[in-house]
Structures are given as C-alpha cells and as structure tokens.
Symmetry: C2
C-alpha cells in the first residue's frame, strides 16, 4: 500500500503521541517535531504508510535517546489481558464454532488497543469486549475461505501486532494447534510503538503452543527487505499466514502470499483500501493472492 | 492563545482539506504539503494556532494560484441557511427569553459548520438543529453576565466566523437591534477558508440591521497588528464585543476587551483552554477582561 497525503499529519500525530507518553520536555518535543517535518519534506509516497511512520519513531529515538517509550504500557497491556484470558477461553468453549469465535477474539484484541485510553486504563472491561464481539459483525468475512485454505495447511505463520493483543491471539492459536497446525509466532526484534517483542511473547506464556521468531528489525509492519533470513524462511515455508493489525496489512497487502488479515480499520485510508467503513473489523483474505508459493525476496 | 505541538498536524490537515476541496492534482497537492512542512519547521509556538494556520492557506495560495477555493461552498452555505431562516426566527419568537434563544441559535450556526460534510450537504436538517439546541446545554454559560453588560452597552461589535453561520447570527443580531443596540458586523476583507466576507454579508441580507465593516485582512481570527484602522476604531469604540468561533477566540482571548465568545470547542486544545470537553458549546466572557476600555494597538 502506498502513502496518501492524509497520512502525513497522521505520522506527525503518532510521533507527538509517543512524545507525550515518553514525558519528554516541551523543548525536546519541539526539536523532534521540527526534525521530523524536515525529513517528511521529501517523503516517498510510493512507500507504505507504515514505512513512512517508521521515520517518526527513528527521529524520536535519535533526538531523545529513548529506545522504548512504551515499555511500561506494554507490561500493563499484557497483565490486563492475562487477567481476563481465562474468560476469553470460556467464551470460545461455550460456542459450537470455536475456531470462528477464537478468530473474533483475536480481532477484538486489535480493537481494544484502539478503544482504550492508554494513559488511564487500569482494567479491561470484559463484558464490553464480549458485547462488542456479539454486536459487531465482520465487514469483510472470508472465514469460509480461511477454513478451506486451512485444510491444506500445516505450517502457519502468525504475524502479531501489539503487546496485550497477543494474549487474545493466544486464544485463536490454541484452537489452531488443536487442529494439529504448527504455528510460528513472529514478534519484533526491537521495540517499535507498543508492538509485541520477545519479552511480550514470554509474558503472554506461549510456552509450547507456538515457536516464537523475531522479524529481525523494529519496523512498523513487515519490511521484507529489512527482515532476517530466519523470518523470510518461515514466511516462504508457511502454507498460510495470519496477519494482525494495520501495519502488517499496509506492508503485506501486495505480496501475493496466502495471507488472511485480521484487523480493525482505524483510519479512513485503510478503510478505503479494504472497501469498508472507518472502525469496521475484517477477516480478509489477501486480494493479491497469486496462487503460487509465498515467494519473497529482499529486493521486492 | 499560544500554539501547541498538537496544532502542527492539524494545520497540515486543514491545508490538505483545502487541497481536496479545490480539486488540485495529486502532484500539486504534494508540492503544497512539502512547502508547508518546510515553513512549519521553524513554527513560532508563541503565535496563536490561527496565525500559524494562516501559513497553510498562504502556501496553498502561493503554490496553486487559487484565491478562494471555498467560494462555491460559501454560496451554498448561505443559501441553505437562508432557506431555514424563517424557521429559526419562529423558534426564537416561540419562547419567553428570546435573546437567550437567539444567542443559542447563533452558536448552533457555529456547530453546523462542524457537523456537516461540506462536500455532500444539500440541505440543513432543521429538526436536528432544534433538537441539538434543546439537548445540548452550554458547558460555559455566562449569559447573565452578558445581559448585565448589555445594559451599559450601546455599540456592539459582532465579529463573524463562517458563511452560512452569519445567517444564524442574524437572528441574534435582530434581537440586539430590538433592544436599541447599534451593531457593527465585521467580515474578512479577503477570502480565508469559509469565513464570511462582504459578499456573504450581502447574501445574508443584513440590510439596515447592522453596518458591515471589513477587518482589513484575510487572517484566520483577528490579527490586531494586521487589521485596518477602521476595524480597530470599531474595536475600541465597542462597549461590548461578540466573537464567534475558534479562530476569533484563539486570537482575542488575551486582549482584555469586553468580549463574549460564542463557539463550539472543535478540538482538544480549545476545549482545554476553555475548561470544557471536546464538542462542548460555550457562551463565555473573556477571562482576560481588565475592566478598562478595549484599548488595542497594532504593536500588541
């Protein structure tokens, strides 16, 4: 996906949010914004919004020297999600189509990241999550195609999005494992926003449920040309890829791999790309699917 | 009011909205945004958000050569508002405290500017406007103080905001004239966003109701140092000033003049400054009021 004009103010806004969370002084914050504006003057609109958003976080790190401003928040997200994890499992166990409900739980994990006030939240409202799960239909629902593709799949690459959210993913992955699928979970090698890293996967206690690998970078989404060989190997090997959240959709929507995207459309641009409305949730197969293997190269 | 970091993406967003409305090509739009980013690198945070937003429109005009991208929309706003004007008058006539209701109608004029989709609107939903008037209490209501101040006031300067909205203002001004007040209406000398100009005042048929003067510039809000002597004379002469909308609040909140601000808080920054929530509506007296005359100088 390419970057639109409307992504420019959003990139700046994301960086300002990070500055607020990090508690940087006003003076330092202004310096970060000024340097970011300078960098964005020559923004490459052919890159994905995710890739251009990386610029904001790179400038933030360079100017402030702060490597992981979301560290404490990620710990909190995981703890809150783990608190309600048994309840999430029960919801899945209470229905007939467990895999479908588990997928919806995973999408709910992406939704709550959006809905909560990250500075104030101290509890996750389980009842509201369940209510939303029941009341919000999927604007794109390719579950049947997913189920079909799953029949021929053994190796599944599960590309995670946020800390906290990965506990919700665990519910879905558990169901996949019950179906004898081999799930590999990918997390970021280094911190970027509140994206899940190895520490988060450990906190979420994936244990033997899924092998955890790192992407080899700290990009928003998946930057193929900057990914580790180990990650790319799993990407190619996977019969089926599950991709969570916007950043991964922005960077993987044109790869032609067998990907299913689970996310909430958190901006107009993504909603347009998916043909849905702002705030809609989707379980969407890749439109760029070529039918071939997940061949990727670093020059792609 | 000074500019905050969070105003920076908003300034860019406003310019992008103007680019969309003007129908500029993608290439030209990118050029505008790039030049704006360059200008904003050295943004003066001590200036008001309105003054810094001016930069976006200046760059837009310089790069595109388009002087009044909102021209057609302003005509449409006026026509739609004039269509329901008799109904607005009836609402005021139907209540006991006509002046208070008329003030609320004027505030509603500021609200509808925000609520409508400027590209799609073809009618104004009168019933919804009235429902909102009844259901939305003023988050700050200094009407009693206004009423008190009005007793000692003859000359009123009414600083307008948007085209269309000025038809709603007319309902309020009519009630003030009934109380034998002399109302002078100020509009912009040249186009800026959808702000009212002389052409709009003529379309709104103010006729003998109020004398119309121009600010001498095309700034968002009121830039004292850039205003005409004629405007400043009326500003000083006024016993009481009524100021509509955010831009005027941003630029006049520290002047110490006897001003009442009627507006909807359309962003978090303004809401904070007013001590209210986003989307709240207010009828607020100036906190900077010194009790002296409305003395201003161009060096202020």
């Amino acid at each position: 996906m390419k970057t639109d004009l409307e992504c420019v103010p959003c990139i700046i806004k994301q960086t300002i949010n990070t500055l607020k969370i990090s508690g940087c002084s006003n003076k330092l914050s202004k310096k970060v914004v000024s340097e970011l504006l300078q960098k964005l003057e020559n923004i490459d609109y052919d890159l994905s919004p995710a890739a251009n958003s990386d610029i904001g976080y790179i400038v933030f790190r360079e100017v402030t020297g702060i490597k992981d401003p979301y560290y404490d928040l990620k710990r909190k997200y995981n703890r809150l999600a783990l608190d309600i994890y048994p309840k999430l499992e029960k919801v899945v166990d209470s229905v007939k189509n467990k895999l479908y409900m588990a997928a919806k739980v995973a999408i709910a994990g992406n939704v709550i990241d959006f809905g909560i006030d990250i500075k104030k939240v101290n509890t996750l409202d389980f009842n509201k999550i369940i209510q939303d799960l029941q009341n919000t239909p999927l604007a794109v629902d390719n579950y049947d195609k997913f189920r079909e593709s799953l029949k021929d799949s053994i190796n599944i690459l599960y590309i995670t999005d946020n800390a906290g959210e990965i506990v919700f993913d665990k519910v879905f992955i558990k169901e996949l494992v019950k179906l004898d699928k081999k799930v590999v979970l990918s997390v970021k090698s280094n911190p970027i926003i509140n994206d899940a890293t190895l520490e988060d996967a450990i906190e979420a206690k994936f244990d033997s449920l899924a092998r955890v690998i790192e992407t080899g970078n700290s990009n928003i989404g998946i930057n193929i040309s900057d990914s580790s060989d180990a990650f790319l190997e799993e990407f190619k090997k996977a019969d089926l890829i599950i991709s969570k959240g916007q950043g991964n959709f922005e960077t993987l929507d044109k790869t032609g791999a067998n990907i299913f995207f689970l996310l909430m459309a958190k901006c107009e641009k993504i909603a347009r790309e998916l043909g849905v409305k702002h705030s809609d949730i989707v379980f969407a197969e890749s439109k760029a699917r070529t039918g071939k293997s997940n061949a990727v190269s670093k020059n792609q």
